[in-house]
């Protein structure tokens, strides 16, 4: 299965927020640490709700946390 065409800045944002652990972020958004790790490594695309929750934790805009990689067939 190819990785989703989405990249994210969760690792950087965690580092900038007092080196927040994956477990702390997981507890704040109500998922397991393994799910946060999968999202961070781009192996799993989170639901819209989880994506907004992550952005809310970091006090950032969702576009700052998740970036859509334009596909060749997509409109710009």
């Amino acid at each position: 299965m190819p990785p989703p065409p989405i990249s994210n800045s969760i690792r950087r944002l965690r580092f900038e927020h007092d080196e927040m652990t994956q477990q702390s972020l997981a507890d704040l958004i109500g998922v397991t640490r393994q799910t946060v790790a999968a999202i961070e490594q781009n192996k799993y695309s989170p639901s819209l709700e989880a994506a907004f929750r992550i952005a809310e934790v970091f006090g950032a805009d969702i576009n700052e946390v998740f970036q859509w990689k334009r596909t060749s067939g997509g409109k710009s």
């Binding site: 477990q23 397991t32 640490r33 999968a38």
Partner: protein, 178 residues
């Protein structure tokens, strides 16, 4: 007796190994490992004893029933005991609701398991019906009882195989996202 000791030691080792995987595996993945390994060990033993006897033309209904009850009780006790031990060791709730990734993985594993069930039930049913005469000839002392016991164990084997594949699928999907 020695067989039971080997099984006991083997499962204790698995429990200890899973308790020391720490945060690398979620509670649900560990539970799936416990289910797969316990099912493999205990039900392979049960079906090994049953089919060996059946192929030699010896089906002792009472002995099979007792073995079935022992295997069922042992597998439930081990799965429950090891899961509680892992939950205590990792300080995680045993009945925490699944998160979105776990729900997705469970749904995909259920779908695989259901498709396999749809495939295996007709195979066992048709295979059983086609071999009724052979079973009756092989067990002249109690043809009806033997046919019923073999059919019941055929369906039991389908349930065990489906459960193994379902839990195995979960493990593969958990590993793919790890």
């Amino acid at each position: 007796m020695l067989n039971y000791l080997y099984i006991g030691f083997g499962l204790s080792y698995i429990a200890l190994a899973l308790m020391h995987t720490g945060p690398f595996m979620s509670m649900r993945e560990k539970t799936s490992w416990v289910a797969v390994l316990t099912t493999l060990v205990i039900w392979t033993y049960y079906f090994g004893v049953f089919w060996r006897g059946a192929l030699q033309g010896q089906i002792d209904g009472e002995a099979i029933r007792n073995l079935f009850i022992i295997c069922l009780a042992t597998s439930v006790a081990i799965m429950l005991g090891v899961t509680i031990a892992i939950a205590v060791a990792s300080r995680r709730s045993m009945d925490a609701p699944p998160d979105e990734l776990e729900r997705q993985i469970e749904a995909r594993a259920d779908s695989v398991g259901f498709k396999l069930l749809e495939l295996l039930v007709p195979i066992v049913l048709i295979g059983g019906l086609l071999n009724i005469d052979a079973v009756r000839t092989a067990f002249p002392a109690d043809p009806a009882g033997s046919t019923a016991i073999i059919a019941a164990n055929g369906f039991l084997m389908v349930i065990v195989v489906v459960e193994l594949v379902r839990e195995g699928t979960k493990i593969v999907l958990f590993r793919m996202t790890a």
